[in-house]
Each structure stands twice: as C-alpha cells, then as structure tokens.
C-alpha cells in the first residue's frame, strides 16, 4: 500500500487560501453591480461594524480591557468628520469646509485622542469597574453632543457631507461613473470604499495581534505582573491598545456616518455599545476574523429579519402588533448565542469555523484512505 499524506500539505493550503482570497476579492468587486440597494446597505452597515469590532477585539479580547466606549468614540469621529468636512456656506451648523478625505483622517485621529484621554481609566480600574467607567463615557458623550447642537445637529442630527476621493464624489449623481454598464451611485461607491477600509483594518488588526505588540498586550491580559517582569511597560501598552482600538472605532464612525447619511447623537447609545461587545464575544475574543463574523451576525441580522419579516414567523414590521420586532428578535438571538458561546465554544464563531474545518479535513482524509484502500484491494 502506498503512503498517503496524512495532513493537507502546506503548499496546498497556501494555494487554497490564495484561490479563496481571489474569489472573495472578485465577488466583492462585482457584488455591487448585481445587488440591490437593500443588500448594499446591509453590506455597508456590516462593514462599518466590522471595522469597529476589529478595534474592540484588540482591546477587549487581546488586551483584556473591558470597554463599552466604542459608541462614544464613533460619535466623536462622526461629528468631527461632519464638522470638518461640511461647507460653512451651505450648512446651518458648524462647518470648516476641509476636503472630506482630510476630514476623515483627522476624525480618526480625533477618536485616537479621545481614546488616549480615556486610557488613564484603564491604569486605575480593571474588570467590571473599568467597564462601567467606560460606559459612563457613552452617556457623557451623548449628553455633550445633544447640547452642542452647532456641531452635532442636536436631537435630529445633521446631514453628512459625502466623501470625495481623487475628485470623485461618493454620492448620487446625474452623471455617475459607469462600470460594466452599471452606473455607480452612492451605495455602490461607498461599497468599494468600505471594502478598502475593511481590508486595511483587517490586515492592520491581524498584523498587530500577531506581532511583538500583540504578544505584549496578551501578556497584559493574562497577568500584569507577568507582562511587567518580562519588560512590558504595562501602562503604555494599555494606552497604545486604547489609542489603536479608538482609531478603528473612529474609522467605523466615519463609515457609519457616510452610510447612514446623517449623524444623530441618539444613535451612539448603550444599545450600540452592547452590540459591539456581543460582536466580539460571539465572533471569538481576540480574533480579527471572528470580529468580522460577529459584526456580520449582530449588525446584519436585524436588517435581514426586518426585510424578510413578512416571510418569517413571529417577526413583524416596526409598529405592527402580534409578533416581535426584528431588533428585539436579534437581541434575543444575540443573547442566546452569547450564552451558548460561553458554555460550549468560548472561541465563538471562529472556534466553530475551526472545528468545522478540522472535521472536514478529517472526513476528507478518511474518504481518501478508504478510496485508496478500495483501489489497492
């Protein structure tokens, strides 16, 4: 009997990976040409959530610092972007008329600065106390923005000036750019922007987690004494994690503002904070891929349930009686999923995926052995 390779060899894996990545890349590029507005909007919502969740998983999962502050940071970045980019002539609010791309970059840095300002909390508090302290930031942020109407638009919010890159405005236009015969309007253009941002966030997030810095953050999570006696400056490691995580939140905030087309302080509330934690827990703490899966699940599901409520049992449109609203149903599902994760698969969706993959390779190997036996008998 000839020998059979027991594991899928490394080059094969690399090839499979490469092909899969190429397929996903092509799919993402052609998707907006075929999808309708609903699916595009869902994709955009998930993308912005995923960028934020990648940042949060670095802070909560890798560094072990419980944080509810994400909506606060997103709000900070969103309002900064709108204020910097809005044309002072046309707006009823505060506007500086900066180029939108520059405004977006500055907004991300503004979120980083907010994170830096919040980071001393983490050197004084830990665990649930830190969580509650960060939670208060959400309320403080909302309060400030609701009252500072010149910047935030107050309760009703304010419209978001469209992004503009290399002279191309990412907005609906009577003369849109055309790709393969399909006119690219606001949603399509934002789709490509979001895809680019997610790729950058994913790569940066993974690189950090698997680097010297990522190891020092994990050491801080596992034991601060361990980290410190191995040469890690615990305070500055936490500070760095806060700043980095906040910049992801900032990018998410800008994307979110661009996607929804208007920012209102009310959006960045406690519910959003909890949703973000749910994303990183459900996805698998500390995993970048998991954060994205969690975001797809937690941010995407309510939109899907809402859209297909007439075809689903128990789910009703907002305002209707005799069933559950989509957002409520998602809360239940997310809650149940978090409990199930904690009980059975602490690594979350990413853990499930790994299990699935190893089951599949084992099954594959078994069939190969069986078939080779069959041929050799």
């Amino acid at each position: 009997m000839t020998t059979i390779d027991q594991t899928t060899s490394r080059p094969t894996q690399a090839v499979i990976r490469g092909v899969a990545l190429a397929l996903i890349g092509v799919a993402v590029c052609v998707a907006p040409l075929y999808l309708d507005t609903f699916w595009l909007r869902t994709g955009l919502t998930v993308a912005s959530a995923a960028v934020g969740a990648i940042g949060l998983t670095i802070l909560v999962g890798t560094t072990g610092q419980l944080s509810f502050a994400h909506p606060f940071l997103m709000a900070g970045a969103a309002v900064t972007y709108v204020t910097l980019a809005d044309n002072p002539v046309n707006t009823a609010h505060l506007g500086l008329g900066l180029p939108p791309a520059a405004a977006a970059v500055l907004a991300i840095f503004a979120a980083g600065a907010l994170g830096l300002a919040a980071s001393p909390l983490a050197s004084r508090l830990s665990g649930i106390y830190l969580g509650i302290a960060t939670l208060s930031l959400v309320f403080i942020g909302q309060h400030i923005l609701e009252n500072w109407t010149a910047a935030s638009g107050g309760f009703f919010g304010r419209p978001v000036p469209p992004m503009s890159l290399f002279g191309l405005s990412l907005a609906d236009s009577p003369t849109p750019p055309v790709l393969l015969g399909v006119p690219l309007q606001r949603e399509e253009l934002l789709w490509y922007l979001s895809a680019a941002v997610i790729v950058v966030a994913w790569i940066a997030g993974r690189n950090v987690v698997h680097s010297r810095v990522g190891r020092s953050l994990a050491a801080v999570r596992d034991s601060e004494v361990l980290a410190a006696t191995n040469g890690v400056n615990v305070r500055s490691a936490k500070r760095g994690a806060y700043i980095a995580s906040s910049m992801f939140a900032g990018a998410a905030g800008v994307l979110f503002a661009l996607t929804t087309g208007s920012v209102a302080p009310e959006t960045f509330n406690l519910g959003l904070a909890i949703s973000f934690l749910a994303m990183v827990v459900v996805g698998g703490l500390g995993s970048v891929a998991g954060a994205c899966m969690g975001a797809a699940f937690i941010a995407g599901l309510p939109l899907l349930l809402q859209e297909f409520s007439d075809q689903l049992p128990l789910i009703v449109q907002t305002g209707e009686a005799g069933g559950m609203q989509a957002s409520t149903a998602t809360s239940y599902l997310a809650g149940a999923l978090i409990v199930l994760c904690m009980l059975f698969e602490p690594r979350g969706l990413v853990g499930l995926a790994t299990r699935g993959r190893s089951l599949a390779t084992r099954a594959l190997r078994r069939t190969r052995i069986l078939t080779s036996r069959a041929t050799h008998n």
Binding site: A204, G205, N207, V208, S211, R212, V213, G214, R215, S216, A218, A219, R221, D222, S223, V225, L226, A227, A228, T229, N230, G231, V232, N233, V234, G240, I243, A244
Partner: protein, 261 residues
Amino acid sequence: MNAQLRAEQVTVSFGAVKALDDVSISVSPGGIHAVIGPNGAGKSTLFNVLSGVYPVTSGTVVFADLDVTKSRPHKLVRAGLARTYQNIVLGHVTVEEAILLGRHHLTRAGFLRCALRTPGARAEAKAARQSVHHLAEMLGLADSLHRIATELPYGDQKRVELARALAAEPEVLLLDEPVAGMNGHEKDEMTELLATIHARGDTTMVLVEHDMRMVLSLATHCTVLDFGRVIADGSPAYVASHPEVLRAYLGSAHAPREVTP
C-alpha cells in the same frame, strides 16, 4: 561586568505578618546564589521584592544603579534582570509566543510599525524567532513550539518559563523553585542545564530551591531564611552544617532534603 543586585534591611509586612524582617542579601556577580528555607520563610516574597513586584515596607533594594523600590519592573528587565515564578505563569499562548515575550525588551517595533509590518519590524521579528527556536532546541522544546503552553506536561511548562527568562538575555536570573514538582530524572536534567548555562559565564543566578542535593551541587553561595529572617549566609557546605539551619528545618518538620510544596 555583571550588574549588582543587593537588598539592605528590607522589611515587608502583610498586615500583621512580617514576610521579610530586616533582610539583607548581596548577590555577587557571576555566581549561583541559593536562597533556601522552610515553607513560608519568605523566599518568594524576597524574589518579588528583588524583581520590583512587591513594594517594601522599609529598606533599600538596588540593581545596577537602579533603586528597585522606585522602579517599575519593566525598567529592571531592561537593566538585565529576568525571573521565573514558583507557580507557573504562562497565559493562553503558544510555546513560541510565550518565549518570544522574553525578547520583548530586546525588540523595538511599536503599534504602527507592527501594523504595517515594515521591513525593519519583520527583520526584528525574524531574528527574535530564530533565537527563540535556538533556545527551544537547547531546552528540548523544539517539537512543542506551536502547542498551547499551558497544555504541556508540568516539567515542560517549567522549561518554557526558563526559556522565556533566558530569551531576555539577563545578567541576573531569578529562579523560584525551577525543579519543584519534577521527577528525579527531570530534576537531574534541569540541574545539568542550569550548570551548562551558568558555565557560559554571563549569567548570575539566584535560585530558590528546596532540593538540598541540587543546592549543594550548583550553588556558590547560600542564604537561609526562616520566618522572614536571614538565619545563615555563606558557602553551601557551611550553611548545611549550621546549627540554626538544622534547627529551623527540624523544627518545621521539613528536612532540607526533599521537600515539594
């Protein structure tokens, strides 16, 4: 030459308990300094003070011109101090990652360079990885590099901790019970390993150990603690025959031979 590590008249109180009571110890560079004593004598507390983890109630601690009591522990690491723990602390990481942590202070890349994987950061990471693989080879951990550290057998976990401390290329290495919980064969291996590392001549070792056979075969100097006080200090042979030491061990029902906590 090697950095000096010295504690003078150190007292550490936990409420009513004086874990260390007016303890002075001077570690001479290049040697293997054993710290022995019955359970609860204050050996681990002394290590925690020397590595800057515990604050002192009174007294001074100096390492390589640094005031240890006022320095945060990572500064001491940069100055050449590394340690292992009596109760293994590894965290949920692979063996390779655990050992790489030891090289933290010898590498530089920060958030931005790590996120971008700049050529410099990559070269640095590669060099760190190579030295970790080299260490793993030396400590017989090469086959376990990609396993989760806490899932290894106990003796291997102890070796991972040693590897992590060695990865920091320390001038002074504090080892809190490096062979505790090991079987006889593993102990011999570890003793030999420590002797080999020490023979290369650039690491001063301070060693807490209950195994008197190991202490006598390795140590160049020995300090005995009992109830937080130094009761004897000198060559291992001198200390082993010191009447106070014998009394301390007999009185606490632990002979200074084979005591595993």
